[in-house]
């Protein structure tokens, strides 16, 4: 298929894959930034958004290269965790993204799959970087995670390599509707079960999940949802004796 599409098509495809990898490279930083917005409203604990933005930006732009040069020069000053994240996780992925631009991807499914696994492994390496390593011949807490993390980096790279060397399927088609509404339903349930109880949260989640397909007919969905909610409300707390709130807290009080 790639042959008929010509050169330019592969080129644009590669750029979008490379841009995707660049986003992946800073995904933890972006995630922490979004998370930190919550601290303005007093949700959760952690650094404020401004601190997060500045510290990650300096780590990415200045801190990490500095640490890199320092380590070559024999300077063993302890680097901060932001700098380590940039060094261990972001820089390798950026490098991969740049390399991607010059490659012919023969199986996008394998190539992207391998690189994402590699990214996960690098992230695990960073996450376990603060743990103690070997103490003499006995394992520290961080030895095994580092061992398997390193192994997974290698395996991910190997899978990506097969994606470059052998022909295979390209990226599969993702749809958004099913995952979005099913996830929304799950998240709603998780947030609502404590304050609103089984009855309200199960029924509402049922309706949200039902939006995952355009074939839903609302009358039957509402009837089935009500029956299911009733069934679960009887089954879990009464028949099985598992404690959970039934009705919204403000109604009970």
């Amino acid at each position: 298929m790639a042959d008929t599409m010509g050169h330019s098509a592969t080129a644009t495809r590669n750029t979008s894959v490379a841009i995707g990898f660049c986003l992946l490279a800073v995904a933890p930083q972006i995630f922490e930034f979004i998370w930190s917005i919550g601290t303005i409203f007093g949700w959760g604990a952690g650094r404020g958004p401004a601190t997060v933005l500045i510290s990650h930006a300096t780590a990415l732009v200045a801190g990490a290269p500095g640490a890199l040069i320092g380590s070559i020069g024999g300077d063993t000053k302890k680097a901060s965790s932001d700098v380590l994240l940039a060094l261990i996780y972001s820089y390798p992925i950026f490098a991969v993204a740049i390399v991607t631009l010059f490659m012919t991807i023969r199986s996008a499914q394998d190539y992207v799959g391998g690189i994402v696994l590699m990214a996960l492994a690098l992230f695990a390496l960073w996450a376990s970087s603060d743990l103690q390593g070997m103490r003499g011949f006995s394992f520290g807490a961080g030895t095994a995670p580092r061992m398997f993390g390193g192994l997974l980096v290698g395996l991910g790279a190997a899978i990506a390599l097969t994606g470059l060397l052998t022909d295979g399927p390209s990226m599969a088609h993702y749809s958004w509707r099913g995952p979005l509404f099913v996830m929304a339903s799950i998240v709603f349930f998780a947030l609502a079960i404590r304050p609103l109880g089984v009855v309200v949260s199960a029924f509402t989640s049922f309706l949200i999940a039902a939006m995952g397909t355009h074939e839903t007919r609302w009358v039957e969905t509402i009837i089935v949802g009500a029956c299911l909610t009733l069934g679960c409300a009887l089954l879990f707390p009464y028949v099985l004796g598992l404690p959970m709130p039934m009705f919204p807290r403000f109604l009970v009080q």
Binding site: L117, P145, I186, A209, M244
Partner: protein, 504 residues
């Protein structure tokens, strides 16, 4: 004979009214969920795990075992009648079973599947009883190094038996091992990769990940294809359950071969019911006088895989009960269930909890008998269940799973984690990664790490201990040999052949 005394004790436990009831409920509920397409055995057991929490340990495990083989039974019913395998184990049954149904012989196909399963179940029950005691003795000779090597062997088996790329299967195992390390370190208590999230301090719950990767991911994937699945229902009434004399004569040797093959593959760590049914079908096709009959309603094509998957499902309890090592993901859930009831699986369980072990073994036989007696008349109901449209079924499954996960720890975070793993599972499916090795890696991870560390501590950091201890060296040797064989091109093509069988 100790064996008969043990079995008699087991039957005495299993025949108590409460345990009989648990067995019946488990088998029925398992069949019910197994019939519904889109929920596999692992998701079924994970989903129903919470409903056994309130029961006494023996009853809970009997019920879970019932759910497990009931789910497989239900899966084969749908694959014969509607060509939708409810479970991966009955994918091959659909090939010939559905052809038989189209020819108006659905009754005999169902009956042979049930008889084959029952025969295999009987043999496997005896096998567990026979092998249990000696293997427990063997387990006492196992040190940390041997345990580690055995688990490596199990994981390599999982790689060999997984479908698709070997490299990807290994990567999935390592990914699973990494996931298993989230949480507190067993020796130092240091918090690993938990990012100061208190809910992660105990590690990722196995049921949570299983439900996400197998339950939610399957639902999302099925929604992709459009909720309206192609259902080619056999509309005519099923008459004449009894197979003819010729059917019985044709299928008897196939049942025996399937049972033997299934029993062996079930005991091996990393194996299990899925691969057993594939292997049995391939074997039948290879040794048949006229292989072209297969795919057109050959009764051996139903008898062999059904016996094999049931035999494997039951013999996979052997490594769990004797060595404490779960050979596949369903057994890993069993470990979870046992731990919740305060039982540590391993060699000591047989001595300390004879009620539990032998009662469970005996209940498997009773459960299989129940499945035959109860389910054949209920076939009509199961078929009607299949007419429930997916657009109503999937939200129900989502909600049921969500409540189930929540009830395990009363933790809303677990529900969100399962959702995230649902997305991860969806991504894995899209990139052609198999989720089963991931789960196995995750289950064996803590055990493996613990034994690795202990072995190296005893040997004072000398890695050669794994090769100088004879048992360990043999196990690792087999693992290396298997891995080399799998990568060899000749065997590779054979392996691919086995796995493409289902696509006919």
């Amino acid at each position: 004979m100790e064996l008969f005394a043990n079995l008699a004790h087991g039957f005495a436990v299993a025949f108590s009214p409460i345990n009989l009831l648990m067995c019946l409920i488990g088998a029925l509920v398992g069949t019910l969920v197994g019939v519904l397409p889109g929920i596999g055995t692992i998701a079924t057991v994970a989903m129903l795990l919470p409903i056994t929490f309130g029961l006494p340990p023996v009853g809970a495990l009997i019920m879970l075992a019932g759910i497990y083989y009931g789910a497989q039974y239900g899966g084969s019913t749908t694959s014969i009648l509607v060509n939708i395998p409810g479970e991966a184990t009955s994918v091959v049954t659909a090939i010939d079973g559905h052809q038989m149904a189209k020819q108006g012989r659905a009754g005999p196909a169902l009956a042979i599947a049930a008889i084959g399963s029952f025969f295999a179940g009987c043999v496997a029950t005896v096998l567990i009883a026979v092998l249990g005691a000696p293997l427990t003795k063997l387990a006492l000779a196992f040190g940390p190094a041997e345990y580690f090597s055995l688990m490596v062997l199990g994981l390599i088996f999982a790689v060999v038996l997984a479908k698709g790329s070997v490299l990807k299967a290994i990567a999935m195992i390592v990914f699973g091992l990494l996931l298993s390390m989230v949480g507190s370190d067993i020796e130092t208590g240091a918090s690993r990769m938990a990012f100061n999230i208190p809910e992660l301090a105990d590690g990722l719950g196995f049921a949570t990940v299983a439900m996400g990767v197998f339950g939610f991911a399957e639902i999302i994937r099925n929604l992709d294809a459009g909720a309206e699945m192609n259902r080619d229902l056999v509309q005519q009434k099923i008459t004449g359950l009894m197979p003819t004399r010729k059917d019985l004569v044709d299928s008897a040797p196939a049942i025996v071969r399937g049972t033997i093959l299934g029993s062996i593959l079930g005991i091996l760590p990393g194996g299990g019911a899925v691969i057993a049914s594939f292997a049995a079908y391939t074997l039948e096709k290879k040794i048949a006088k006229d292989p072209s009959r297969f795919g057109r309603g050959a009764i051996e094509g139903v008898a062999a895989p059904e016996s094999a998957n049931n035999a494997a499902a039951q013999t996979s309890f052997i490594p769990l009960l004797t060595l404490g090592i779960p050979p596949n993901a369903v057994m890993a859930l069993m470990v979870g269930a046992m731990t919740i009831h305060g039982i540590v699986p391993g060699p000591q369980v047989m001595q300390k909890q004879p009620d539990l072990v032998w009662g469970m073994i005996a209940s498997m036989w009773i459960g299989n008998l129940m499945l035959i007696i109860i389910n054949l008349p209920l076939v009509g109901i199961w078929v009607r269940l299949l007419r429930v449209p997916y657009r109503l079924m999937f939200p129900s499954i989502v909600i049921f799973c969500a409540i189930g996960i929540y009830s395990v720890n009363n933790a809303p975070v677990d529900v969100i984690l399962a959702g995230i793993f649902g997305l991860v599972g969806y991504w894995l499916i899209k990139h052609d990664f198999e989720p089963a090795p991931l789960l196995l890696g995750m289950v064996l991870g803590p055990l493996m790490e613990e034994n690795l560390r202990r072995a190296l501590l005893i040997s004072r950091g000398d890695w050669s201990v794994f090769l100088t201890r004879p048992l360990s060296a043999v196990l690792l040797g087999i693992a290396a040999f298997l891995l080399v064989l799998t990568v060899l091109p000749a065997l590779r093509s054979k392996r691919d052949e086995v796995f493409t069988e289902s696509e006919n």
